[in-house]
Symmetry: C2
């Protein structure tokens, strides 16, 4: 599949056995480094949202900030950073979720958005969907409406969509 005449998949580098044996990691840095590919990917993540009244883009640190901020800039809306526990300086709400081993906690500022604000969630990768499900719950906890979720890459065999049932999901590349 091409996006604006660019085969974005050609800019994703596959790295075997990273971060551990048996995992084939999809490295997005060659795509980020190419201005046309980066721009086409941002455009694809924005597609369909320009006229929908989205008011914020929210994304989880660290890699999520890259496409999240670029999409917010392109759509001309505000950006809401969702961070790991203890990183945000003001009053926060938090959500704890399960990982393969143990748990993790995400936080957002309690006053990050107005009640009922329309929020587009962005991340680079949909794997198991656990982090994004927690991020959506967090935005809803502070009163936001998740109007869509955009991922650059979906690893479809991990069935992450099942954890995001009921949300509108847009993915640019699928493996």
């Amino acid at each position: 599949m091409t996006t604006k005449g660019i085969d974005l998949q050609a800019y994703i580098r596959s790295i075997p056995d990273w971060p551990k044996k048996g995992i084939l990691f999809r490295d997005i840095t060659p795509l980020l480094a190419d201005p046309n590919a980066f721009s086409a990917a941002v455009d694809a993540l924005c597609a369909g949202y320009a006229e929908t009244g989205v008011e914020y883009v929210a994304a989880v640190e660290a890699r999520g900030f890259i496409f999240g901020a670029a999409v917010a800039e392109k759509l001309g809306v505000g950006f809401v950073p969702i961070r790991k526990k203890g990183k945000l300086p003001f009053k926060t709400e938090s959500v704890t979720y399960e990982l393969e081993y143990g748990t993790d906690t995400l936080e957002v500022h309690s006053d990050a958005i107005e009640k009922a604000a329309k929020v587009l969630m962005i991340d680079d990768l949909l794997a198991t969907g656990g982090t994004m499900a927690a991020a959506c719950k967090l935005i809803e906890k502070i009163g936001g409406q998740v109007v869509g979720i955009g991922f650059l890459i979906e690893l479809s065999e991990l069935a992450g969509r099942e954890k995001l049932d009921g949300y509108t999901i847009n993915t640019v590349l699928s493996y």
Copy 2:
């Protein structure tokens, strides 16, 4: 000072005693959340670089990714993520630098840019300058030319500019 008619300083929230007693933290999240303030800040960081042949924007995780990616998108150039040790999947170069207590290590992919590529460095905050000095050294180690450094906020009493001697520095807000 106003930027495009917006008093950006009014969107920075000061938080006393965070992350520890005696520190007055400058919280940029209200600025990020406001589309006009965010856009004006991105424009101010791009100012002067549109016609200079900048080829990449580089930034350090996590907060640096926010303005770094937005500036790269706006300038229409590639984005190079600089990360903490062990986060990047391909062959890396690294630089270790001193913190107040102990050391930290930054990494970048060895093939992130072409030799002699012009790189604009972006971060939200210039404090002591140690992280940015290390990031510049890293870009030079992989053959890049640092053509400028842009910060949203400069804490001038910490004299971070002294660690960045010889570089062209642009700051949007100063305390």
